[in-house]
């Protein structure tokens, strides 16, 4: 499973006080067409739940598997 958010790494540049950059980010990051099949968000990132509630379901299932594996190790 992979996703566009899955693949993002936030750099430490966010000391920026650039208003125009922040406005641009506000527009390009949280809006726009989403290609659903490709958006799978890691469970650690619940803030994006809106983008894929079904993703949440599959994330929870993945979480169960991981936790189960840990118990059997």
């Amino acid at each position: 499973m992979s996703s566009s958010f899955d693949q993002m790494i936030v750099t430490e540049e966010w000391e920026s006080t650039d208003l125009s950059l922040l406005e641009t980010l506000d527009h390009v990051l949280n809006r726009g067409l989403v290609i659903a099949g490709e958006i799978t968000i890691s469970v650690a990132d619940i803030d994006l739940i809106f983008v894929g509630l079904n993703v949440l379901v599959s994330s929870v299932e993945t979480a169960h598997e991981v936790l189960r594996k840990r118990q059997t190790e």
Partner: protein
């Protein structure tokens, strides 16, 4: 903002405000909600799950509180009932606070953004 017909739509959008610093402060949150590193190792899966569970509990807890206040205002609870209800909710709030601390979560962490519906809390 002056409109200039020469300003084509392909130019960068204009931004106009007399309180730039304040808006910078508020808009920083846009990037705050992005994780600093995304990984799916077991620990963050656990924490992610805890976050989800606690958010839901927190949501329900607040609904319960509101409901209790309404009942209290409605006048159909005896003073003893009010006291008991209040104590129970107080303990619930404290317990949840404990859990938040245990998982290293803040109030902001538990605030789901549901897009057009707004924030959960």
């Amino acid at each position: 903002m002056e409109f200039s017909p020469e300003n084509p739509l392909t130019a960068e959008p204009e931004i106009e405000t007399s309180h730039a610093e304040e808006f910078v402060e508020q808009l920083r949150c846009v990037t705050d909600t992005l994780p600093s590193r995304i990984n799916i190792d077991a620990q963050s899966v656990e924490q992610g799950l805890a976050k989800l569970v606690l958010t839901l509990i927190e949501f329900i807890r607040r609904l319960l509180e509101k409901q209790a206040v309404r009942r209290m205002e409605g006048g159909d609870l005896s003073p003893e009932q009010i006291e008991e209800l209040g104590l129970a909710l107080m303990k619930l709030e404290a317990k949840l606070q404990e859990l938040k601390t245990q998982f290293g979560l803040t109030d902001d962490d538990l605030n789901l953004d549901l897009g057009p519906i707004g924030r959960l809390i």
